[in-house]
């Protein structure tokens, strides 16, 4: 079996986000944007130019920003509250809990440049705790589009069905892994590749790497299933139950701290199974990242195709 080693084109999901947000705002007067002095980094320049009154920049005041979003939702708007992931979720966590999730205000929280997209800027600027923090909040969707098409899909979905949501909008460039015809259903992972030996689960940046790993594993004669966890909440328990029943091991990788993240969600399902408690490996962060670019850090934490492959071989040896 030959492995395709050509380098695919890669894209910053913020571009698709910005274009789709403008398209939605053209169609629906309720769509507004709120940000924290991040007009540029949230890619809202064109939105501001097109809808100057519908971009509310509250300045460097994230707690107020999320509360303002809740108030706009109370007044009937669909606010997209945009800020770099670490500040949006860390600084405003209690506002996200009380004003958005618990109040059931239909605010769309957009965590821009999440994970380790701000590489060398260091752990203060990494958003790797967001899954852990936000998974603990009921009634808040956590959506991680894997590519351009899913970024657009996610935006269209939350405007059509407004609900308290957090969307990771990636800055680190990724290739297309889905098409417009890939199924999109709330709370469901997508099977991007079928396989019966092992299941590789990825989210965001990791999805294309899981697909590459599946290619690499064919040299072992291993057929890997690849799941895209575009929804961290509601969580697709059924996909995990099926993976445990139909494949012999599960590997999860996430650009996030493993304490309470996607891997923990998978582990919670697997550990509670009466049978099929398959070997499981979780790749992610267990420490504050050292200095380095995003690519360097993804390599450092084995969040790569090779990282999946090594973990898969270990897990299958245990199976």
């Amino acid at each position: 079996m030959s492995v395709d080693v050509s380098t695919p084109a890669v894209y910053d999901n913020r571009t698709a986000f910005a274009e789709e947000l403008i398209a939605l705002a053209e169609q629906d007067d309720r769509v507004v944007a709120v940000c924290n002095d991040s007009v540029g980094s949230s890619n809202l320049v064109a939105f501001r130019d097109r809808f100057p009154n519908r971009l509310i920049n509250v300045g460097i005041a994230e707690q107020n920003m999320v509360g303002v979003g809740a108030g706009l939702a109370d007044r009937g708007f669909i606010p997209f509250v945009c800020a770099a992931g670490p500040f949006l979720t860390g600084r405003s966590l209690e506002q996200i809990k009380a004003d958005v999730a618990y109040s059931a205000h239909r605010v769309i929280l957009c965590g821009m440049s999440p994970g380790m997209a701000y590489g060398e800027l260091g752990p203060t600027h990494h958003s790797v705790e967001d899954f852990s923090w936000l998974r603990a909040l009921p009634d808040l969707d956590i959506i991680v589009p894997a590519d351009r098409a899913q970024t657009r899909q996610a935006l269209r979905d939350v405007v059509a069905n407004p609900r308290p949501s957090y969307i990771r909008v990636g800055r680190h460039k990724v290739p297309d892994v889905t098409t417009e015809s890939t199924p999109w259903e709330r709370g469901r992972m997508q099977t991007l590749r079928e396989g019966s030996d092992i299941t590789l689960i990825g989210t965001g940046t990791l999805v294309s790497r899981a697909l590459q790993a599946a290619d690499l594993l064919t040299v072992d004669g291993t057929e890997a299933r690849v799941l895209n966890a575009s929804w961290i909440a509601p969580f697709d328990d059924d996909a995990i139950v099926r993976a445990a029943a139909e494949t012999r091991a599960i590997i999860v990788a996430e650009e996030a701290n493993v304490a309470g993240g996607l891997g923990a969600a998978v582990a919670s399902v697997v550990a509670q199974l009466a049978r099929d408690r398959v070997p499981l490996r979780i790749l992610g962060l267990r420490e504050f990242a050292p200095t380095g670019s995003t690519d360097f850090l993804l390599d450092y934490f084995r969040l790569t195709a090779e990282g999946y492959v090594t973990a898969a071989r270990e897990a299958l040896a245990d199976a």
Binding site: V34, A61, Q63, G67, G71, R75
Partner: protein, 292 residues
């Protein structure tokens, strides 16, 4: 979501019409009756629940009474009316006073007040908009109500609505940084239909505000942040009603309402320990006696 009490709404509407039409002395008397009813209700609720925040409930009662019976443009039969004035109690721990005020207006039946903080009651210790009509946003942690009010006021302007936004804050709560973020924002956007009322009872949970993290001179500080400031006696109905007149300057309006924590019951007034102390049998009887 708890059901609206339509006959009660009719009763509230009839009283409200009388208040709107009455000469000032009679109007004050009608409002005093409403406030007395609320304070008595608070005593009974806290007695039954064995918990609550009686001191702050009493200091804010006259403010809530004026807003819901003489100021707010609301229709309790249509709690989701898009153009309603928004009211947010940022000091959510004073839920007993708010629930009593809402129940009198018919947002739900006054009978439900007996379930305050009982297992599975809609009436939690802090208000929940998913269960109680008339509640715009869930409060409890301090420093949350004003940012939401700023968003609602921005939304009203964007929608071209005539609705106004009223946020009531505790004075201790003004120690939260998020409030000052929101104060700056409201002034920056010149949200002249946004009114805040600070329940200035000068006590917080553990001590006097000025002994804890001083707020004085609060009116000057608010003015320096770009607000039109009105300082009033928070138990004077005429003064409160007048304070809710439209902004004269195009700035948002901050009303510093000087109040007495525990107002209305002699042994509770201005006593720090009554922040969330629960009265015993004899104290309940005495409180109801003083409020009769």
């Amino acid at each position: 979501m708890i059901d609206t009490d339509v006959p009660q709404v009719e009763q509230w509407r009839e009283t409200r019409n009388r208040i709107d039409a009455a000469p000032s002395a009679e109007r004050d008397e009608l409002l005093a009756e409403r406030a007395q009813w609320t304070r008595r209700s608070v005593v009974k609720m806290i007695d039954a629940a064995g918990a609550g925040h009686i001191g702050g409930d009493f200091s804010v009662t006259d403010i809530l009474t004026v807003l819901f019976n003489a100021v707010l443009r609301i229709d309790p039969t249509r709690a989701d009316w898009p153009d309603r004035d928004r009211f947010i109690l940022s000091k959510g721990h004073c839920a007993a006073s708010l629930y009593s005020t809402l129940a009198w207006a018919g947002f739900f039946s006054p009978d439900a007040l007996e379930t305050f903080m009982a297992p599975m009651s809609e009436l939690n210790g802090h208000p929940d908009r998913r269960k109680v009509p008339g509640v715009e946003t869930n409060t409890g942690p301090l420093g949350h109500g004003l940012p939401v009010g700023v968003g609602a006021a921005l939304g009203a302007r964007l929608a071209g609505g005539t609705d106004r936004v009223f946020v009531v804050l505790g004075d201790g709560e003004m120690q939260e940084g998020s409030n000052w973020e929101a104060l700056m924002s409201a002034a920056h956007y010149k949200l002249d239909k946004l009114f805040i009322t600070v329940d200035r009872n000068r006590l917080q949970q553990g001590a006097r505000t000025e002994e804890t993290n001083g707020l004085d001179p609060l009116p000057e500080r608010l003015a320096a942040f770009g607000w039109e400031v009105r300082e009033v006696d928070g138990h004077d109905y005429a003064a409160l009603i007048n304070a809710y007149r439209p902004s004269a300057t195009g700035k948002p309006v901050a009303i510093v309402a000087n109040t007495i924590k525990g107002k209305g019951v002699s042994f509770i007034e201005d006593r720090v320990e009554w922040h969330h102390k629960v009265p015993n049998r004899e104290q309940v009887a005495q409180a109801l006696e003083e409020l009769s």
